[in-house]
Symmetry: C2
Subunit: 192 residues, 2 copies
């Protein structure tokens, strides 16, 4: 859709290489914009060609050199334009929910296992986001930071991410318990 804007928005927080960006997208940003690492390299190259970001080679002695990017004035202008056009509805595509939707006719045991996996991942994300929030607000408490902090955008999106993962965690646990309660027999005695 518009990975371009997601990349520009992240780059507002500082210089990032493709590799660093990939990590950010894999952890924090994935809550509102999923992107694979390969996409990011392609997108950054495109963004630089069109003048929305500046790239700069950083020579590192302790590890391989890298190219880091910053948003240009044209890049900020593009974000401003983007902010003003009507937002499209969010796109969500989640295999696991599809599996749960169909669970009554498929393999309850497999679905429970995946709900448990997802619960563990969600718990980790809750912790991660909590740490990010603390870092962002520094010494201030939440209300003070939101009233006076320099940039509240990343804080707000992180808050949303944390809530989302918290809900995910609760739902996965409850779902797993309920499915287990109903298909307990088959789970102990496969193929029943």
């Amino acid at each position: 859709m518009a990975l371009r804007h997601a990349v520009l928005a992240v780059l507002l927080s500082g210089e990032f290489s493709g590799y660093q960006l990939a990590k950010v997208f894999d952890t924090g940003v994935a809550n509102f914009w999923y992107a694979a690492p390969q996409q990011l390299y392609v997108e950054l190259a495109k963004l630089e060609r069109t003048g929305l970001v500046d790239g700069r080679l950083v020579i590192q002695l302790d590890r391989p050199n890298k190219r880091v990017y910053t948003v240009t004035e044209a890049g900020v202008a593009e974000l401003v334009r983007f902010a003003e056009v009507e937002a499209k509805p969010a796109v969500i595509r989640d295999d696991l929910l599809v599996k749960v939707h169909a669970v009554d006719r498929t393999d309850a045991r497999a679905v429970v296992a995946q709900l448990e996996d997802r619960a563990v991942q969600a718990a980790a994300k809750v912790e991660l986001f909590d740490g990010t929030l603390q870092t962002l607000r520094g010494d201030l408490d939440e209300d003070a930071f939101l009233a006076t902090g320099e940039r509240i955008g990343p804080y707000l999106t992180c808050l949303r991410g944390k809530r989302f993962e918290q809900e995910n965690l609760d739902w996965c646990r409850r779902g797993a318990d309920l499915i287990r309660a109903r298909w307990g027999a088959e789970m102990r005695d496969p193929g029943a």
Copy 2:
């Protein structure tokens, strides 16, 4: 990714035409699988060619004829296989969150307006899902339905959708308030 399985999962609830399916995807299912109507016609045709669904022409006197689809045994088998492979991480792509992430450098007024729009949509979805949940559980209360109901999959995914939209609603309102509180001056005096 795999619209195929989402369509099969929905079709487990009964016969649907492409048009009806599009409505279901636009409202309920969009919470875990977004798909445009055009995709569904293509997918149904493909699914029928590969024998995962059966199509049947329904002649209607009061409106145009339609073709309705049901899942075949092969289709159920495909869902079973799908349930057993590891679920990919969920894909989320949300313009509005990108805009909020960048709000400190763009147009706070425009973002607030879109947060308010989204809040209204979220509130409507909460109501919608609440109605769906009531319909699904009939006379039973939630716990009784989840323990004894015929199909709990759709109920569980609907519960997740309702929670998601409830959180969305709260977050949009809070975000709009906070952004307004900080950029109040510019909002009253544009371009300041």
